[in-house]
Amino acid sequence: MAMTVHVDIVSAEREIFSGQAEMVFAPAVLGEVGIAPGHAPFLTKLGPGEVRLKLDDGREHAFYISGGMLEVQPRVVTVLSDTAERAEDLDEAAVIRAKEAAERAMADHTGAIEYAKARAELAETVAQLQTIQRLRRRGGR
């Protein structure tokens, strides 16, 4: 039987593949890499492209990824795939969106937390819950 290496392909939202393979090909940012069993520890960024696996029964499996990381240990290869297209400017745009939303909401109040007001509000919720419980007890008789 040929030498194999354990391969895990995972994304933040789900597990994509887990099993044995003879050879792993991945689209590293500096060019495609092929990983055979027993490879030295290796850590690289992946670009968008295809991760191909040569399974021990000779079949090939391919997964498209939009980027991520590849970690190689002598017996384990891990592909940490991104869930979506990631680029510096796209991330920046997301930051700006989240910031603007907060700034709009912040426009009409101060930066300091008013603890008294917070306590009052929380006390109100607690009071409501207690009233309901009292009513229930009275109703239960």
Binding site: P41, T44, A98, L122, V126
Partner: protein, 286 residues
């Protein structure tokens, strides 16, 4: 029979409410199961990430990433995860209470706070009571996507990089089981040093292109995965809490209906008795 009619209408309306709360209970139960599945689906990535980051921390890298370095804390960043919708019992209230207690303790120590808020309930709460909110996102739905969170997380990572905050915490509800949800503070940055798992020998990865770049990406992905996990877990908590709250509401409605039914029966009987006595006394008079 005017009173009896009123009671009948009341019973009908309570029955309708009960139908709604029962439906919500069942919807929450099935959504909770799906959220739990999503929680376990997200786990392999976070576990793998943790392993890689632990390996990396042990590896003898010449480059020490700022995310791993402890520094004096003057300003704290907090990413607060709340639900988008209400009707889930004391879930958000509990979280706010615990968070505020901690915030107040920090402020007493002279530390300042920056908040990033996920979820409508938190946004509403902090817009009423104040607080420096630097980023927010809401309406994630039942199946949140990592992309929706990137912006909010990156604000904190950038702030940490620029030295604006010296510590970042994630606050969310941890899913213990269906009945128990625990408000949890988790330190994201700097990464708490991992316990040694026997990897004492000296080795390092081959980095491509460069240790710095690779680590940058790896660590920010790691933080993102932790926050994503927190959000997914919070959704499972929300559904579980809603399920329990709606079950209680349905039970209450059931009790109320029973009582009303009793009152109604009494009223009806009183009316019949009265009618009978009227007829009998009428007949006697003739």
């Amino acid at each position: 029979m005017a009173a009896a009619k009123e009671i009948r209408t009341k019973i009908a309306s309570v029955k309708n409410t009960q139908k709604i709360t029962k439906a919500m209970e069942m919807v929450a139960a099935s959504k909770m199961r799906r959220a739990q599945d999503r929680m376990s689906a997200a786990r392999p990535y976070a576990d793998k990430m943790r392993q890689v980051v632990a390996h990396m921390a042990h590896a003898n890298s010449e480059y020490k990433h700022p995310f791993l370095i402890q520094r004096e804390v003057k300003r704290i960043g907090v990413i607060l995860v709340t639900s988008d919708r209400g009707l889930c019992g004391g879930l958000n209230g509990n979280l706010f209470r615990q968070a505020l207690r901690q915030f107040q303790a920090w402020e007493k120590d002279g530390k300042e706070l920056d908040l990033c808020i996920i979820g409508n309930k938190g946004i509403g709460f902090f817009s009423r009571i104040g607080g420096r909110v630097v980023g927010q996102v809401a309406n994630l739905g039942d199946a949140p996507k990592l992309e929706q969170l990137i912006g909010t997380i990156k604000i904190m990572l950038d702030a940490y990089d620029d030295g604006k905050v010296d510590q970042v915490f994630l606050v969310y509800n941890q899913f213990v089981n269906r009945m128990t949800q625990r408000a949890t503070f988790e330190q994201l940055l700097p990464l708490p040093p991992s316990e040694g798992d026997g990897l004492k020998h000296h080795w390092d990865y081959l980095y491509e292109p460069e240790a710095r770049e690779v680590m940058d990406q790896l660590l920010s992905r790691y933080i993102e995965s932790l926050v994503y996990q927190g959000v997914v877990e919070n959704i499972a908590c929300e559904q579980a809490a809603r399920m329990v709250a709606m079950k209680a509401a349905s039970d209450n409605a059931g009790k109320l209906i029973e009582e009303l039914q009793l009152i109604y029966n009494k009223a009806r009987q009183a009316a019949i008795t009265q009618e009978l006595s009227e007829i009998v006394s009428g007949a006697a008079a003739v």
